[in-house]
């Protein structure tokens, strides 16, 4: 499986955010998108998964088979929002996404165990702290299988210990043949990653 972007550019509100991006990553690889605020990290992820149209260039997903026709179908997108309902329990939230997204992978309680929320599944999502909410959102990536993870500031609000745990989860995903594209300010401590710097520094 290979994800390639050629000459990619995007606009927001009529303003060119970035243009002429090239990158390609294959199975088991990770791409770290860095850059200052407003450089277009989030925009790039949204363009990749198809939430925003690309102003120019192409995005190619090759060798993924009929099962994953587009990036949107093949990707888990973890945006700024956690996509969890405060009125429902953590388990209910995850069970919904597991059923809705299909391709079940881990059981809900296994996934919660992986992110260190093993004993809190019964709690309403609203009672969790910021970091716990983010971890619950990360558990969503584990309950159904997608080869590509598009992560937007995945570690926002996580403490050091949870971050280490999350790094291990990402490494495990790569070992399973997954692709990771993460927009972040913080080094994620991943082994041999590619890096894409957006903005003036580029």
């Amino acid at each position: 499986m290979r994800l390639t972007a050629q000459d990619l550019g995007a606009e927001r509100g009529g303003e060119r955010i970035f243009s002429g991006l090239h990158f390609a990553i294959g199975a088991g690889e990770a791409l770290l998108v860095t850059g200052p605020n407003g450089a277009g990290k989030s925009t790039l992820l949204q363009v990749l998964c198809g939430l925003l149209p690309a102003a120019e260039g192409t995005i190619l997903l090759e060798g993924a088979g009929e099962e994953w026709p587009t990036v949107a179908a093949a990707a888990h997108y973890l945006g700024h929002g956690n996509a969890m309902k405060p009125a429902m329990s953590v388990e209910e939230n995850l069970r919904f996404w597991r059923e809705f997204n299909g391709e079940p992978c881990l059981e809900v309680d296994e996934a919660l165990e992986e992110v260190g929320l093993g004993s809190l599944g019964y709690l309403p999502f609203s009672t969790l702290s910021t970091g716990q909410r983010r971890r619950a959102a990360i558990a969503r990536l584990l309950v159904s299988w997608r080869p590509i993870w598009l992560l937007d500031e995945p570690t926002a609000g996580l403490d050091a210990r949870s971050e280490t745990r999350f790094t291990a989860l990402m490494e495990a995903h790569r070992a399973d043949g997954g692709l990771i594209i993460a927009a972040t300010h913080w080094p994620l401590h991943l082994q041999d990653v590619k890096e894409l710097v957006l903005g003036d520094a580029a």
Binding site: S119, S126, T127, Q132, D159, R161
Partner: protein, 253 residues
């Protein structure tokens, strides 16, 4: 979570804890008492002579009138609770208000329904928009409004104060309901029991009515107490859930 804040939390719960113990002891005997009174009142009611004009239809009075009284008394209880929230700042006051509203709305709904059923054979229609019926209907809407309000706000303290203000403003409606039959010319009959010149209702009917009324009143307080206990427990569960989430945080850090 340090030791001092933990003890502080338990000190804060002390009052509700005593309330829970009290409620546990009271609820069962009160329920039994209300059932006995209601059984006695209803038996007496069916033994009492039928009305010379209304025939046996009049027997619905033995439940309609207590429902109507209680619909007003419940708002009275809520108004006192509202004062408790706003003036005395009693910790259980907003629990009392929140717990009373659903009980009150059921009693008001039953008063409206039984009145409607009584009205159909007597007046030939289920409903008329006269002053008494309309004002009770407005009371029904106000109960629903308070329930919606207490459910819409997550923070218990803020919800309690908002509901207290609305309840006190709504209390204006109580005298309107009571005196509507005197102030306006209505289809609903005027007061027959609580009058300055004594009841105009015959003692054979008055006694069963008073007993069922007492029975329903005890039933109201039983339900109210049970609902308050549920609410206190619900808040405790909520507090414990927050505590559990924070404790987990402490362990993982």
């Amino acid at each position: 979570m340090t030791e001092t804040t933990l003890t502080g939390r338990f000190a804060g719960l002390a009052n509700p804890t005593r309330f829970l113990a009290l409620a546990d002891r009271l609820i069962l005997p009160m329920a039994v008492l209300s059932l006995l009174l209601l059984a006695a009142g209803l038996v007496l009611g069916f033994r009492a002579p039928a009305d010379y004009q209304q025939g046996t239809t009049v027997r619905i009075m033995y439940i309609h009138v207590p429902f109507a009284w209680l619909s007003m008394m419940c708002w009275g209880v809520m108004s006192v609770a509202a004062l408790g929230t706003l003036v005395w700042r009693h910790p259980l006051a907003d629990v009392a208000l929140k717990a009373a509203a659903p009980v009150g709305v059921v009693f008001t709904g039953l008063a409206l329904a039984t009145g409607s059923i009584w009205g159909k054979p007597m007046w030939g229609t289920w409903w008329v928009w006269d002053a008494r019926l309309t004002s009770v209907f407005v009371l029904f809407l106000m109960y629903l409004g308070v329930i919606a309000l207490t459910r819409a706000i997550d923070d218990a303290g803020r919800a309690g104060r908002a509901a207290a203000v609305i309840t006190l403003v709504g209390a204006v409606n109580l005298p309107i309901i009571k005196f509507s039959v005197d102030w306006w010319n209505t289809l609903h009959q005027p007061a027959a029991v609580f009058r300055m010149d004594g009841p105009t209702i015959h003692p054979t009917m008055l006694w069963p009515l008073m007993i069922t009324a007492l029975g329903f009143t005890v039933l109201f307080f039983t339900l109210h107490l049970a609902a308050m206990r549920t609410e206190v427990l619900r808040r405790r569960i909520f507090a414990m859930q927050r505590l559990a989430a924070r404790r987990e945080e402490g362990r993982s850090a």
